[in-house]
């Protein structure tokens, strides 16, 4: 009797504690998806009948395929570059313990403070041959005019550079932290077996932080799929219209705010959201990242 009363009390207390977050979850996690689903099959300016035709209309939009291709190219560059550079840099950082380790880490997180509009400003100056600190390097590459860089074909590289610049440092520090969790005994055993620093890094450390790298890769993929701010701001400032509707999210934004086609915009957002949800489910159920956190089946 006493036990069931205390467990009922615990249930009540737990529910009260969980309630504020649950309200936010329902209001701003679940409701927007339901509302967007309803909107996406409602009547639209191009399709008064509504229904699933809205999804077909978005895919058939002349801007859709180019935007999809841009995002695919962006992801094919961005995700591998992030994973490789972050792995290598965090492994290298891990080999230099001592007083220079902390200052190095601090410099690496500096760029993370320059996001959004700041990043666009910085990159405009870094890439403009007449203003850049890398002027001589740019000239050596034969680049003397801004428009040699800011052109359609090279935009994916520029946006990758921007996103990489903002995100890489933080991830290097985070993965360096992951490396600290490897037990010293394991590394010592490898050293006794005669493994050199390169072998320890490649054969021991890297496999041990693999799941953190996979987790990062999926997070980076999901975020990259939604690329918006950089092309949007470049298009609205430095080179007007150069990256208009460059990414899928920009197209979604334009459908809602320029074309007055909220249904189409909601349809496109939902398609992107579904991809992200699938990515999330893959991490949760198909990787061992959340093992032992109470998510897996008992």
């Amino acid at each position: 009797m006493a036990r069931s009363r205390s467990s009922r009390r615990s249930l009540l207390a737990g529910s009260i504690m969980f309630a504020p977050y649950l309200i936010l979850l329902l209001l701003f996690g679940i409701w927007p998806i339901i509302q967007a689903t309803i909107t996406s099959i409602g009547p639209s300016i191009v399709n008064p009948a509504g229904g699933l035709q809205n999804f077909a209309d978005v895919v058939a939009d002349v801007r859709f395929l180019p935007a999809l291709m841009n995002v695919v190219v962006f992801l094919l560059l961005y995700v591998p570059i992030m994973i490789i550079v972050v792995s290598v840099m965090s492994l290298l950082l891990d080999t230099v313990q001592g007083r220079w380790n902390l200052p190095l880490r601090l410099t690496y997180i500096v760029p993370a403070s320059m996001t959004g509009a700041t990043a666009v400003l910085i990159w405009y100056f870094m890439l403009e041959p007449s203003l850049s600190p890398y002027q001589s390097a740019l000239h050596a590459l034969g680049i003397t005019q801004g428009n040699q860089i800011w052109r359609q074909g090279g935009l994916a590289w520029i946006f990758v550079a921007m996103a990489f610049f903002v995100g890489a440092g933080n991830w290097i520090v985070v993965q360096y932290g992951s490396l600290q969790s490897i037990s010293e005994d394991v590394l010592e055993a490898a050293r006794i077996d005669g493994a050199n620093a390169w072998q320890i890094g490649w054969r021991i450390k890297l496999p041990l932080i693999r799941k953190y790298l996979v987790y990062m890769g999926i997070l980076v993929f999901a975020a990259g799929l939604q690329v918006f701010v950089e092309p949007q701001l470049i298009s609205g400032s430095v080179y007007t219209g150069i990256a208009k509707d460059w990414s899928l999210n920009q197209l979604s934004y334009d459908l809602a705010f320029q074309s007055n086609n909220l249904a189409g915009s909601a349809a496109l957002s939902l398609m992107l959201l579904v991809v992200c949800i699938i990515a999330a489910i893959v991490v949760i159920f198909r990787t061992d990242f959340f093992e032992g956190t109470g998510v897996g089946k008992k």
Binding site: G14, F18, A36, M114, A117, Q135, Y176, S181, G194, A256
Partner: protein, 309 residues
């Protein structure tokens, strides 16, 4: 020496090599790579700090890392203030208010929910946890258009409350708190308190909360860094200039002034490149200070600490 005898011949050769000249070369290469990456990381920040010390003309003509004058910082600031009767101050104040509200609401709700998941007999725990994980992995940008649809429907468009509430939804924080309360604090501690007759709330406030300073620090850090630079969501949910945060305001200066494109905006605007750089600096510096102050938190390994292998 004995160690070399037990490895394969090929590897043994490798060891001999790396212990000689190769090892030294290897160290030098590692240091060069690490140092170059560090220099590349701080060059833009140095540029950004120097830029507002110069006039627009000097920014174009002088070397990128030249210093203008301290007086010019003041002149640049005054130009920035001239924009729309000092709306920059309003944007800064908005950023502070929004961010503070978001940090408080998101951290408090996350700690409570994390504790409820870890230590109470909440029903449907596994489902709630999985939904929280999915929400945590989906980038917030993915929900911007759906949130816009919802916020317009309930009449909160262009109302700062919409930005504060939507940004306070913090599944990552709930997950961190859940992991913290279920691994870092021994469950025996809660059990003991309950055996002594303490209710859930007493246990939470007397036992769990006093042990959660590190957790609060980490939650506040992530919540702050996301909220302070939040761009897309407020950009979509807010319309009036006086409601913008600094991030959206900066984007507005970008696209409305002739600073970066002479075709844009009023030609007589005082907003040039140094002014934009100064506004960017105001956006970047608080984040930088918080990052540097919290570097100890990050070092311990956010992922490794949160998810024990």
């Amino acid at each position: 020496m004995t160690t070399e005898s037990i490895v394969l011949p090929g590897r043994g050769e490798g060891i001999v090599r790396t212990r000689g000249l190769g090892a030294v070369t290897g160290r030098v290469v590692v240091w060069i790579v690490l140092a170059v990456f560090g220099i590349l990381s701080i060059i833009p920040m140095i540029w950004l700090i120097l830029a507002p010390s110069k006039t627009g003309q000097q920014l174009n003509d002088n070397p990128p890392f030249s210093f203008g004058s301290f007086e010019q910082y003041g002149a640049t600031w005054n130009n920035l203030l001239s924009q729309n009767d000092g709306i920059i101050l309003k944007w800064m104040a908005n950023s502070v208010t929004y961010t503070a509200s978001i940090v408080v609401i998101s951290c408090v709700t996350a700690v409570l929910a994390g504790y409820a998941l870890a230590a109470t007999t909440l029903p449907f725990k596994r489902v709630l946890l999985i939904i929280t994980l999915i929400a945590m992995i989906i980038p917030p940008v993915a929900l911007v258009v759906p949130l816009f649809v919802e916020i317009s429907a309930i009449g909160l468009y262009d109302n700062p409350v919409s930005v504060i509430l939507t940004s306070s939804f913090y599944p990552f924080g709930v997950f961190l708190a859940y992991i913290y309360f279920s691994t870092s604090i021994p469950t025996e501690l809660y059990e003991a308190a309950k055996v002594d007759g303490a209710g859930e709330f007493t246990t939470f406030f007397r036992i769990a909360l006093p042990l959660s300073k590190g957790l609060f620090g980490m939650l506040a850090f992530f919540s702050f860094s996301a909220a302070w630079v939040n761009y897309f969501l407020p950009y979509v949910l807010l319309q009036s200039q006086e409601n913008f945060n600094l991030s959206v305001g900066l984007g507005f200066l970008f696209t409305s002034s002739p600073a970066l494109n002479p075709l844009n905006g009023a030609q007589q605007s005082l907003i040039g490149r140094p002014e934009i750089a100064l506004a960017s600096l105001f956006l970047a510096i608080p984040i930088l200070i918080v990052f540097i102050a919290s570097s100890r938190l990050l070092v311990r390994g956010v992922l490794a600490g949160a998810v024990k292998s």
